[in-house]
Symmetry: C2
DNA sequence: CTGGATCCCTAAGGATACTG
DNA sequence: CAGTATCCTTAGGGATCCAG
């Protein structure tokens, strides 16, 4: 039994989150995290590349979200010590494991978001 | 061609969101929305049932999130005019369409959240 | 039982300027 | 180029009490 070794090594994260879903939402739920991950799905990107892909995100927020994604182990940050500086972000294996979810979320919006907005308008 | 009829009826939601993913995140990204949807996956639930399933959500927040989900057309709210009051929430077809995403998010956390928390601890 | 109304507070996010 | 450092605003969320 998994609980025979004193502390339960599996699913101990449920101490922090009362439900698995909460955890995933927290990990990719930041306003820009999902989008960043999405853009990294097709390969590594430099800081300014990401900023160009999302012009309405501020440098500050981009940096913050990248740092959090890095701290969670979802992305790698590779610094090239040159002048001018060059930093490349890429998905870790853990980040890669989110691919199906990201793609499904993209697809869902494409197929259903119009309806959602119609519904909102109707009872507005 | 889809653009031949003057205004593009498809994907007009991209005026509001610069990326499909942002849209989906907004729809299920509320702190409790995903969890509520999850609990509705296996059938309709009453207000207090949901509250019992998530004791740490306040009545106010539960009400608010339910209202938003309803406004987006993801859930139905059926009021039984009796005393005491009885209200049942259930998924609409649109809400049902989120099932694969919800389940995938659950599964992802189960398989990967431990690693995420380890990563966080390590560079904390 | 299912909320609504009110008050409050923190953390998420944004604007702007500066820097190695 | 790839960030920090400040300052500021707001919306998300919580606590509590009231009500049909």
């Amino acid at each position: 039994m998994s609980s025979s070794n004193g502390n339960n090594t599996n699913y101990s994260f449920l101490n922090k989150y009362s439900c698995s879903l909460e955890a995933t939402v927290e990990v990719i739920g930041g306003k820009w995290k999902g989008v960043i991950l999405y853009h990294l799905l097709d390969g590594k990107k430099r800081f300014n590349e990401l900023k160009r892909l999302k012009p309405n995100i501020t440098q500050r927020m981009l940096t913050l979200q990248l740092r959090e994604l890095e701290a969670d182990g979802l992305i790698n940050r590779k610094v090239y010590r040159e002048v001018p500086p060059k930093v490349e972000y890429s998905l870790t294996e853990l980040g890669e494991s989110l691919r199906p979810i990201i793609l499904l979320m993209m697809e869902w919006a494409t197929n259903n978001m119009e309806k959602v907005l119609e519904n909102r308008d109707n009872d507005a």
